[in-house]
């Protein structure tokens, strides 16, 4: 439908929508996060759900204790290499459509513990992250902003077309490889389909 006509109709008090917009509107306002925290960022996540910041305004107050009922995984805190397989497995057990917010410097890149031998250098090596929040830890407002960013992302998703999201595409994977404990490190060190290390090209 033409955008100009739609805005003209809404001025006359006639609300028009498409099936896709209605579907996405319903989805974006009922995102249920998975109830799990890894480190100090989880305290900020808990604060976000409480009365002062009130994540319930965005339809996301229902933190589900089971991955079967959750849509959103908020990776809140340092992902140790011992914990990484469990995080990936939990993500695999969530039903589609599922989203990931990497909250804080640790979940993005390892953060202040990046040099630690036991710290994963970013959860986006194993699972596809939709929104990254910088900060150590990010304030609740930052998490709310990330949440609104995710809502916008859900709103813009196509139901049918070549650009449709992963969960509507039969060829895209629904599960991601769970890393194993190797002799020295996690094996594989990254899921190639999800993340590739940046190649530095030097010009002479």
């Amino acid at each position: 439908m033409d955008e100009g006509l739609r805005s003209e109709l809404s001025k006359q008090g006639i609300f028009t929508t498409s099936l896709q917009d209605l579907y996405n509107w319903g989805r974006k306002n009922s995102v249920w996060p998975l109830q799990f925290g890894l480190a100090c960022c989880a305290i900020e996540m808990i604060a976000t759900t409480m009365a002062r910041y009130d994540l319930a305004r965005f339809g996301a107050e229902v933190f589900r204790p089971s991955p079967r009922q959750a849509d959103l995984m908020i990776v809140a805190g340092t992902v140790t290499k011992k914990m990484a397989p469990q995080v990936v497995r939990l993500f695999n057990q969530m039903p589609e459509p599922k989203y990931v917010i990497a909250m804080g410097a640790c979940a993005i890149s390892g953060g202040p513990f990046k040099q630690g031998y036991n710290v994963l250098k970013g959860i986006d090596r194993y699972i596809p992250v939709d929104v990254h929040i910088p900060g150590c830890p990010p304030r609740p407002e930052a998490l709310i902003h990330a949440f609104m960013t995710l809502q916008q992302k859900i709103q813009d998703q196509n139901l049918t077309s070549a650009k449709r999201p992963r969960h509507l595409d039969a060829d895209e994977p629904g599960e991601f490889d769970v890393p194993k404990f190797g002799e020295h490190d996690l094996e594989p060190p990254l899921n190639a389909g999800v993340w590739q290390p940046k190649t530095v090209t030097r010009t002479a």
Binding site: Q86, Q93, H167, L168, A170, G174
Partner: protein, 111 residues
């Protein structure tokens, strides 16, 4: 009646057909796993385990449950037919067998 059935079925059918039309199924090893705590389950759930408390269950049946049936049996004893008497005798004999079993196991002696 028809309206209420349709009211229940229509949203379910709509959701089902919507999922069938747009959303491909993606089952997998982790997604179909029984447990959902993130850890892999170890071993088999189909194992034998010792039922330690069956003797308590037998004693409970004899001295507690049987009493509940004995009271109405005693009250209506004079007006009962032969079939009811036989049924009750079988019931009591089954429980007496349990009592004999428990007695022979030494459950009734205080140590």
């Amino acid at each position: 009646m028809v309206c209420s059935v349709l009211f229940a079925i229509t949203p379910l059918a709509l959701a089902w057909s919507w999922a069938r039309r747009f959303s491909p199924r993606k089952p997998g090893k982790d997604k179909n796993a029984i447990y959902e705590c993130g850890l892999e389950s170890k071993g088999d759930a189909w194992v034998q385990f010792k039922s330690e408390y069956y003797l308590y269950a037998i004693i409970f049946l004899i001295f507690d449950v049987e009493t509940i049936f004995l009271l109405p049996f005693a009250v209506s004893f004079t007006g009962l037919g032969a079939g009811a008497i036989v049924g009750m005798v079988i019931f009591i004999l089954l429980l007496v067998e349990g009592l004999a079993w428990a007695w022979q196991k030494g459950v009734l002696s205080w140590k």
